[in-house]
Symmetry: C2
Subunit: 119 residues, 2 copies
């Protein structure tokens, strides 16, 4: 079974996670059987490791981690690969792949451009 | 004249700003006469203050700042309003409005969901 983790930075601000929940809801609307968890680097819950464990317990063997980041900064290029490598050490049967940051997808770029022009 | 600043966090990673440049290019494609600058909080150039000054020198009197952030964390809720207030002090003729973070726009949410499902 395949799962998807929406990987975010995290924040002390509680409303910060709302867009992540909305992405998860939109995914459920587009594909109701998708197995999706949020997973944050720091400050917000659930943490990345918690989500990995949750998915592994549900029988997921393959996880795509999608960085919900605009660009490839240090968190995407260094922190995330470390977290993923450590998780694969802890769960030897688990295969984790890292997608491009969502801000690099052309459809996301176009939607952000459209929004910015509407302000 | 109206201008738009795409406000980002900034990063030590040089490729970090590519998505911002792509958003600016997509805006130019959608609306060729739009006056758009990038402006970063830290680490990347141009900084927010530099972009304000650049737009003011070009005769822009009204600026919409669009946070290219997924969610409303501290940088959007605290740092950006401070930067904007300081800029309006420095340029008394300038009107600056702050848009919602781009990650809150429904079309952006839907595009991110579609991308995540495609990974």
């Amino acid at each position: 079974m395949k799962g998807i983790i929406l990987f975010g930075h995290g924040s002390r601000t509680s409303e910060y996670i709302t867009p992540f929940e909305r992405i998860r809801d939109a995914m459920a609307a587009q594909q109701p059987d998708a197995v999706v968890e949020l997973g944050f680097l720091e400050l917000s819950r659930p943490g990345f490791d918690e989500s990995i464990e949750c998915l592994a317990k549900r029988g997921v063997t393959e996880i795509s981690v999608v960085p919900i980041f605009i660009g490839p900064g240090r968190h995407v290029l260094k922190d995330l690969p470390q977290l993923a490598a450590n998780a694969m050490d802890r769960f030897p049967g688990l295969e984790i792949s890292l997608a491009a940051p969502v801000g690099e997808a052309q459809e996301v770029i176009d939607a952000m451009a459209k929004f910015a022009l509407s302000t």
